[in-house]
Symmetry: none
Subunit: 501 residues, 2 copies
Amino acid sequence: MNARDAYDKLLAHSRASADIAATLSLLSWDQQVMIPPAGHAGRAEQIGALTAILHRRACDPAMGQWLDACQGSELTRDAASPEAANIRELRRDYEQAVKIPESLAVALAQAASTGQRAWELARKDNDFAAFAPHLTSLLDLSRQKAEALGYAGEAYDALLDLFEPGETVAAIAPILAELRDAATDILGAIADAPQPAPLPAGPYAAKEQKALLAQVTARLGLPAAASRLDVSTHPFSTLIGPGDARITTRFDEDDFTKAFFGAVHETGHALYSLGHVGNGHYGTPMGEPASFAVHESQSRLWENQVARSLPFWEHMLPLAAAHFPQLAGLTPLDVFRDVGAIRPGLIRVDADETTYNPHIVLRFELELALIRGDLAVADLPGAWNEKSQAILGLTPPNDALGCLQDVHWSTGAFGYFPTYSLGNIYAACLFEAAGQAIPDLPARMAAGDFAPLLAWLGKAVHEKGRLLRPRALITQATGQAPTAGPLVRHLRAKAAAIYGI
Amino acid sequence: MNARDAYDKLLAHSRASADIAATLSLLSWDQQVMIPPAGHAGRAEQIGALTAILHRRACDPAMGQWLDACQGSELTRDAASPEAANIRELRRDYEQAVKIPESLAVALAQAASTGQRAWELARKDNDFAAFAPHLTSLLDLSRQKAEALGYAGEAYDALLDLFEPGETVAAIAPILAELRDAATDILGAIADAPQPAPLPAGPYAAKEQKALLAQVTARLGLPAAASRLDVSTHPFSTLIGPGDARITTRFDEDDFTKAFFGAVHETGHALYSLGHVGNGHYGTPMGEPASFAVHESQSRLWENQVARSLPFWEHMLPLAAAHFPQLAGLTPLDVFRDVGAIRPGLIRVDADETTYNPHIVLRFELELALIRGDLAVADLPGAWNEKSQAILGLTPPNDALGCLQDVHWSTGAFGYFPTYSLGNIYAACLFEAAGQAIPDLPARMAAGDFAPLLAWLGKAVHEKGRLLRPRALITQATGQAPTAGPLVRHLRAKAAAIYGI
C-alpha cells in the first residue's frame, strides 16, 4: 500500500476513535454532573460498551499494516514534521494496545471499577482491611501489565511511561528528593515566622462565587462560547470535542478560595485542551496533549504562578470585592499572603505549593515499594504513617486521612502521582521563560491582560500537541532542559515575600 | 447453530447496540440542552461516528445468520411470546438496515445535525433561502433512503413505515381528512360563541413554574430519581438508559400554561419510556416503544385527556395557586375552559386539541408533495402560506411563523408528522377504554390519584414493548380496532362543555 494512502487511513481511523473517546468523556461528565440517581447502572453498561469498541479499534491489525506502510517512507524523513510525529505516536499507542491481552485489559477495567467502589466505602468507614484485597489484586494485575508492556529498568518504569513517556524511576527519584529537601528547608526557615492573617469569614454565596468565576475564567482567556462551568463532587476538566472544554468545581460558602483556585486550575487544563485541538490536528496525536505532566503544568501555572501572585490580585481583588463586600477592606498583598501561606496538612488536595511535593514523594516511594514487592499491602497503613511523620512532620489519626485519602490506587493508576510534581516543575520552568519573553508580564497581569501569557504558552506548548516528548517540549520552549531549579526559586521567593525570611 | 444459542447472541448484540443508541441520545440531549456554542461542529462528527458504528452493527451479517438459525425454531412457535416478537422485530430492523448503505446512513445523520443548526439560524433570521439548500439535500437523501428501503405503493410509504410500521399514504389520508373535517365543523359551530375568559396575566416566575412542575410530574408518576427537567429551545423527551428519562421545557413568564402542558406532554413520553424499559427486556425490541404514534398517544393522553380535564384542575388548581397567587380567585372550571379553548393560530405546538390536526394535514400534504417531486423546495413558503389560509384560515406574516416553524424537516424526518394525529387518535381510544376499566377515574383524578390510570396504561401498552404492531396493540388494549371516532367524540364533547353548543 502507498504510504500516503496508508497515512490517510491511519488518520481517519484515529479521528473516528477520537470521536468515540470524546463521547466517552461526555458519558463520564454527564455521570458526574447531570445523571439522575437511577441512571448509574445503565451508564456503567454504556461506558463498558464504548470502551470495548475503542479498545478493539486501538489494536485493529489494519493499524499495524498502515503503520508498516508508512514506516521509512518520506513521511517520516523529517522527524520534526507533523506526519512523522503522528506516525511515531500512533505506533506507540498501537504497540502498547496490542501488548496488553484483552483478558488482562478486561480484568484491569473490572478491578478498577470494583476497586473504586470498594475504596469509596473503605474511606467512608475508615476500613483499610476491606480495601486491602482489592489493592492486592490491582497491584498483581498492574505488575502483569508492566510485564506485558516490557521495560528496560524495572516494572514501575513501564507503568510510569504510560502517563509520562520516557520517564523512569532513575530519572525522577533525584528530582523528587530535591523538591522534598527544598520544602524541608523552607519549612525550617519559616518555623518561627508568624502566619499571615486569614481572609474574612463567609458566607460567600455560591451564586456570587459562580458569577465571579465566570468573569475570571473569561479574563484568563477561556472563551464562554467553548466552555461550561458546572458543579461536581470531585472537580475536573474534560474535553468533549473541539470547541467544547468543560470544567467543574465545588462551592464552599465558608471559603471562596477553594472553588476559586480549583476552577482556575481546571481552567488551565481547559486552555491547554482548547489549544492543542485548535491547531488543525484534532483527532490525531498532533492534536493531543503531550503528557499528564505537561497537562498538569498548564493547570498549576495558572493556579499557582498566575492566580496566587500579587499582580493577579492587584487586578482581581476589586472584582472579587464587588461580589463579596467583606473583602473590600483588604489589600492585594493581604490576599497574596493568605493564598500563598505555607501550612502543612494531611490532605494532598488541600496542600499549599511548598508542601504539595512532599505529599507526592510520600506516595511515589510507597507505590514504588508496593510494585517492587518490598512493601506488603497489609503494611501500607503503618508505612504511610511513618513516612508521613518523617516527610511532613504529621501522623494521620486514621487511614481515611492517610493512605485511603486518594482515589488513584483504587483504579490501578500506579505511576500517576509523580506527574503532579513534574507538572509543578514544568510550570515553573515555563513561567520563568515566559517572564523573560514578556518583560512586562507582571504589569500586564496587574492590568488584567493575560493574553500575552496565553499566546506564549499556545505557541510554546499548546499548539505542539505530541510533536515532542515532554522533556524535549519543555527544553524547546524554555531554551534549557527542565530542572527543579525554577520551582525551588519560585517557592523560596514566595516564602521570602510572605514570611520575610 | 442451536436456535437458543443464536437467540442469546442476538439479544447480547441488541443490548450492546442499545447502549450505543443510548449514548447517541445523550449526545443529542446534550447538544440541545448543555453544549457550548462552539461545540456543534464536533458534535456532528461524534454523532456521525457513533451512527456509523451503530449502522454497521445493525447490518452485521452475523445478525442474519443468528436470525436464520432462530427462524422456524420452537422459539417462534408462539407468535405472542416475547421470543417470537424479538425475533420478528429484530428481523424487521435488520432487513431495513442492510438495505441502507453505510455512506447514506452517515450522510443522513450528518445532514440532520448540520441541517438542524442551519434551521435554527434560518428561523431566527427568518431566512428560508439560507435553509433551502439543506432541505434540498435532506429531501434528496430521504428519497434515496426510500428507494433503498423499497415500497409497494409510493416512496413516502417507505419513510412513513419507519416511524409507523404498516402505515401507508392510502391508509392515513382518509383518517386525516376526517379529523380536518371534524375540526372545520366544530370551528363553524362555535364561531358565534364567546371565548372563555383568559387566565390572569403574569408574571409567572420561571423558578415557580419549575417548582410547580416538579410537584405535578411527580404526582403523575414520574420518579424524580429517574428523570430530569431541563430547559431547551424545543421541548422534547429522551431516554438515556434504563432509569434515566429526561424531559425539557421552555418557560414563558407571561403564560405558565405553555411550559406546563409542554412538560406534562413530555412526562407522558417519559412515563412510556420508563414503562417499556421497565419490563425486564431493556435493550431488545420487547423493551422498546411500539411506534411513534403509540409514543405520541401517551404524551397526548396525559396532556389532553388528563391535564386539560376538569377533574385534573380540581386537584391541581390549589397547588398552582400556591405558586401563583393571581390564580387564587379562579375555579377549576375557569381553568378548564381556558386551557380547552379553541383558538386557531399559526403555530402547531401552540395549537389547541381541535385545530392541532389540521396543522398536521397541512404538513402531511406538503411533505408528500415534496417527496413526490410535485413541489419544489423554492416554492415551499408560498405553498405553505396558501394551504395555511385554506385549512386554518390564516396566512403567516413570515416564514419563521410559517414553513420554518418546525424542526422535523431539518433533521430529515419526512413521514413523521402523521404520527402526531395517529397519536391523538390512539390517545382518545385508550382513554375511553381506560374510563370503562376504571369507572371512578374522574374522581380518582380529582383526588390527585393518577396511579390507576398509569397502571392500566402500563399493563395495556407500556409493558408490551414491540410485542404487537401499533394497530394490533391498540385493538388488544381497547377491545376494538382504532378509529377517529373516540377523538372526534372527545373534541365535540369538550367544545360543547366549553362553548355550550
